[in-house]
């Protein structure tokens, strides 16, 4: 009998991201998740807010602390694991997704998190990021995007706008930036979201959805670096401009923004389909039924991609925020474990221990006896 291919194997039922991780016995506190290490980011760094949000979110996740693993690469944000009292590894530049892939594939009882930055994930580690997304390994990747290199003191990053004047580009950077959400969608990601360091409520909601998703959850977090790229996200943070700049994505609701109508709750601007993509329209100018309703579960990523393109490459005048895409797809690690379990179950039917089977394997084929 030939070996079944993975598609012939009984697919593991699609489950939540944390279903196979043992639950905590009782309520937990943020303090329990806080390590005794002194936090060493610059004053005012956006990383503090994200750390606080994660430390207070983890108790709500309700998992045993010892079954949570944070893995990071290199960069300011990659110090993150040291500040959480879980298992953790601060690894090498760009490689965290590959290390996390090994951890998540080896152990289904672990909740695996990757903390990375725009340089770490999109420059030196770009290959690992796209392959993690395509494999859909059950883990959550938090990409802290400050659009600059912080730890190496201020060179432009792969998300910096063209023309960025930095120490390494005194007359302006030349390379066109990545749009991390577009990239993730193009890399077959099954969960793609964007949130903001300073919006604790939204950030926490996205973390919860990301953790609940079984597969690789990709979360871009806009993170301000007050030292080397201050104000990169002012438009979406400033009280006067943010309602015009943030395009909130909520599954099942029309996508509108701008000045809210008290009665309908709709913003004065909206998204509508245009050709193969989407465009910004005056809400009043189109019939309500023609407004684009956000469908994060659409198997076809084209619309999500079109929405992702509304983000400016340069100064962020406007950006969609929320969950772009959330679809179910078998995870690599579940399938890999299923193949192993299947082979083990078949072997178990023939009886004997692993050592007996190894003896049989070593003595298989053409053997002969001497003496």
């Amino acid at each position: 009998m030939s070996t079944p291919t993975s598609t012939e194997l009984p697919l593991p039922a699609l489950r939540t991201g944390t279903e196979s991780v043992p639950a905590a016995e009782g309520p937990q506190t943020a303090k329990e998740f806080t390590s005794d290490q002194e936090v060493r980011w610059c004053p005012g760094c956006g990383d503090y807010a994200v750390l606080k949000a994660v430390q207070s979110f983890l108790p709500d996740l309700g998992l045993r602390r010892e079954n949570i693993v944070f893995v990071s690469g290199i960069g300011c944000s990659s110090r993150f694991p040291y500040y959480l009292d879980t298992y953790g590894m601060h690894s090498i530049h760009g490689r965290a997704p590959s290390i996390a892939t090994g951890i998540a594939t080896a152990r289904e009882d672990l909740s695996v998190w990757v903390v990375t930055g725009d340089g770490d994930a999109l420059s030196i580690g770009g290959n690992h990021l796209i392959h993690a997304l395509r494999r859909n390994v059950n883990m959550t990747i938090l990409l802290f995007n400050n659009r600059i290199y912080g730890l190496t003191k201020g060179q432009y990053s792969p998300t910096s706008e063209v023309g960025k004047v930095t120490k390494s580009t005194p007359v302006g950077s030349l390379d066109h930036p990545f749009n991390p959400v577009s990239l993730a969608l193009g890399a077959e990601a099954s969960f793609v979201a964007r949130t903001i360091d300073s919006d604790r409520k939204h950030l926490t909601a996205v973390l919860a959805a990301a953790a609940a998703h079984r597969g690789t959850s990709f979360v871009e977090i806009y993170q301000n670096c007050p030292i080397f790229n201050d104000g990169a996200f002012d438009a979406i943070k400033d009280r006067d401009t943010k309602e015009h700049a943030i395009i909130p994505l909520e599954h099942g609701k029309p996508i509108t923004f701008g000045v809210r109508d008290e009665e309908t709750g709709l913003g004065d601007k909206a998204l509508a389909r245009a050709g193969g993509g989407v465009e910004v329209v005056e809400t009043a100018a189109v019939p309500t039924e023609q407004l684009l309703v956000h469908d994060a579960h659409n198997p076809d990523p084209s619309t999500a991609f079109a929405i992702s393109r509304l983000t400016d490459a340069g100064y962020l005048h406007r950006s969609p925020i929320g969950i772009f895409r959330q679809v179910e797809r078998p995870t690599y690690d579940d399938l890999a474990r299923a193949q192993v379990a299947d082979a083990k179950a078949k072997a178990a039917q023939s009886g004997g221990t692993d050592a007996d089977r190894l003896t049989k394997l070593l003595n298989a084929g053409d053997t002969w006896n001497v003496g």
Partner: protein, 655 residues
């Protein structure tokens, strides 16, 4: 009509099958090897093939060959010079004839000796037309021109195959002929073909028929009047099988998993000549083996490190170029002190080098190819079958000492084969992962009622290994990483004194492994040798064969071989001191010799070849002999035991 053939006894024969890379020479050689193994000869093989999957047909670069040396006694090498060459086309003849000793037999398929193919091989005139002439270029050899292809096509007519498909069975015709000539059992090949072509009855029929036709041709033709008999070898009692290095290494990894109780996790990126290990391990999921074909070399080791952190036996397999890419991650495993196996199946370098050829020039890379002081234990197998126990040993060190370990195989070991005495699983060492499960250190504030703590860098006094606490273990949550750790507590530390201590401690941990190693075995039969030959890795065979030659010629020489390159065995320094001269044969420009010089201030003399092929025993014997002469102040003449005919191939051990 069957003729009465003469039967001649031989103690050993070296046959080389050579043809176009599409001619199936590897398969032919492999089948002949299996037949010889089942017959009970000792044997060593040397496959040699181009890096191109299908190099241009009929050209010299497209020639693929397989050499098998089999004997009625224990042998150590695939042989320097073939006694018999089977050449399937002009290019195969041209590429290999230079390696033959005077008097060798050449069986040549005349079918492809066309103008076009002669041109491609660079022959101005057909050498077969000149046989027996005064200017016969093959005059030194016994040449048997046979139309192997023509006879094959004729024999398999009944299967209605295209001419091309019919001709393809010519390798089986050749195999049948050689099997007859050396009295090989045919059942293994028949069974093999029946299994391989069970879904293609016509192809199966053609191959079986060609195989039998080759045999019958030998029996009836007047071209061949002698059959040879090579009695089974008297090997130590036990069950044997023929095995290649890559297969033995794969089985060794599975055995390491079974003996440690750890699931094996292989993260790997395909690369010649290591890919077979990935292929093999991917078949053995029933042992709890997980294989991940990663997006690149770095991800392969990254995933393996992650799996080790999570409590698996992490393994990554590659060749030299892959090690270059993995260096930073190996450093991470050094810093995080996690068990990890890094397997380098060495090939010709630098850069892409000679992907399908062997070399052992990655020793310095394994030793020093990382930033910072990053010591890594190095283990090297000495023969194809030895790859099994070398893998188990590498795992023992990795798990016991919480360290990445380099296992240096090479292309010759990987693809070469030998009879292997199947070990008993119970005889393999038990490897205890000894996971940490409890807090191990009193809190500095214990007096104030603070509970005990877990210190991930609190070391075992004997091994200096740190505790391995895997995720899921309550209370032992901790963070590791590439930044320098404070000794004991393991938190980030930039303290100068601590860094100095940690650098020295990591080094001391690797050096402490020497205490667990057995004393070096030195082969010095007379006890009077003044010269010691020391090697590592796949040169074991040629060095052993060279020493046998020197001894047969009546001189004294000692031999020892290193399985552990880092740390060296504790008694190596004493062993070296016992000899006046030390010769270090290597397939590089002198890497072990440099390490020996640096470590022991010994005048280690190099013997170095980097031809992409194993060292030649006769040449090496001459070099050893010369040194023996210098050491003993005598003239040394190895006579027929060196490069001089007639006995220009491997010697039996002195009896």
């Amino acid at each position: 009509m069957s003729q009465t053939k003469q039967v001649k006894q031989l103690d050993r024969v070296i046959i080389r099958f050579a043809g176009d890379s599409g001619d199936g020479m590897q398969l032919t050689g492999d089948r002949f090897t299996q037949e010889s193994a089942v017959f009970g000869n000792d044997l060593v093989t040397l496959p040699n093939f181009p890096a191109e999957i299908r190099a241009p047909q009929g050209t010299l670069p497209g020639v693929s060959s397989f050499q098998v040396h089999f004997a009625d006694h224990d042998i150590l090498t695939a042989g320097d010079r073939p006694d018999v060459l089977v050449a399937m086309n002009p290019a195969a003849l041209k590429a290999n004839v230079g390696d033959l000793p005077k008097g060798a037999a050449i069986i040549v398929d005349t079918h492809d000796f066309t103008k076009r193919n002669l041109d491609k091989a660079g022959y101005d005139t057909n050498p077969l037309d000149l046989l027996g002439d005064a200017n016969d270029p093959l005059g030194d050899f016994q040449v048997h021109p046979v139309d192997l292809t023509g006879m094959t096509v004729e024999a398999v007519k009944e299967y209605g195959l295209s001419r091309k498909d019919a001709a393809r069975a010519k390798n089986m015709f050749a195999l049948g002929l050689l099997s007859w000539m050396y009295g090989r059992p045919t059942e293994p090949t028949t069974a093999f073909l029946e299994n391989k072509f069970k879904k293609a009855p016509a192809i199966l029929g053609a191959n079986l028929t060609a195989f039998k036709a080759g045999w019958n041709f030998g029996e009836t033709t007047e071209t061949f009047v002698v059959r040879y008999e090579i009695k089974p070898a008297k090997l130590p009692e036990g069950t044997y099988r023929n095995i290649t290095g890559n297969l033995a290494l794969s089985y060794g990894l599975i055995a390491a998993g079974v003996r440690s109780g750890l699931p094996v996790f292989l993260g790997s990126y395909p690369i010649t000549p290591a890919s077979d290990i990935l292929h093999e391990l991917s078949k053995h999921k029933a042992f709890g083996v997980t294989t991940l074909q990663a997006e690149d070399e770095i991800a392969g080791i990254g995933a393996a490190i992650g799996a080790s952190f999570a409590g698996s036996l992490g393994v990554t397999t590659t060749s030299g170029p892959g090690i270059a890419l993995k260096s930073e991650a190996i450093g991470l495993a050094v810093m995080t002190e996690l068990p990890l196996l890094v397997i380098d199946v060495q090939r010709g370098g630098p850069s892409t080098g000679l992907p399908t050829k062997t070399e052992q020039a990655d020793l310095m890379q394994a030793m020093y190819g990382r930033n910072g002081e990053a010591p890594v234990p190095i283990v090297a197998p000495q023969s194809p079958g030895d790859c099994f126990s070398a893998a188990v040993e590498a795992a023992r060190i990795a798990i016991t000492y919480r360290t990445p370990v380099m296992l240096l195989s090479d292309g010759y070991l990987a693809n070469g084969s030998e009879p292997w005495q199947v070990p008993s699983i119970d005889d393999l060492p038990v490897i205890d992962p000894d996971f940490a499960t409890a807090l191990n250190h009193a809190s500095p504030k214990a007096a104030e009622g603070e509970p005990d703590e877990f210190w991930p860098y609190l070391r075992d006094q004997e091994t200096l290994a740190r505790p391995w606490a895997i995720p899921g273990t309550p209370g032992l949550e901790h963070r590791i990483g590439g930044l320098e750790k404070g000794e004991g507590h393991g938190n980030i530390s930039y303290d100068p004194a601590n860094h100095d201590l940690m650098v020295r401690t990591r080094q001391a941990k690797i050096e402490a492994i020497a205490k667990s190693l057995p004393p070096l075995e030195v082969d010095d039969p007379s006890g009077e040798a003044k010269v010691l030959v020391i090697g590592w890795g796949s040169t074991y065979g040629p060095i052993g064969a060279a020493c046998r030659r020197v001894r047969r010629a009546g001189y004294h020489v000692a031999q020892t071989h290193l399985r552990h390159l880092n740390p060296f065995p504790a008694d190596l320094g004493d062993v070296l001191k016992r000899y006046d001269k030390v010769l270090v044969p290597e397939m590089n420009l002198g890497q072990l010799s440099r390490l020996l010089r640096a470590e022991f201030l010994v005048d280690a003399i190099g013997y170095n070849h980097v031809r992409g092929l194993p060292l030649k025993a006769a040449e090496l014997a001459e070099a050893v002999g010369q040194l023996v002469g210098e050491a003993e102040g005598t003239e040394v003449d190895l006579g027929e035991h060196g490069l001089n005919p007639p006995s220009d191939h491997e010697e039996a051990p002195s009896r």
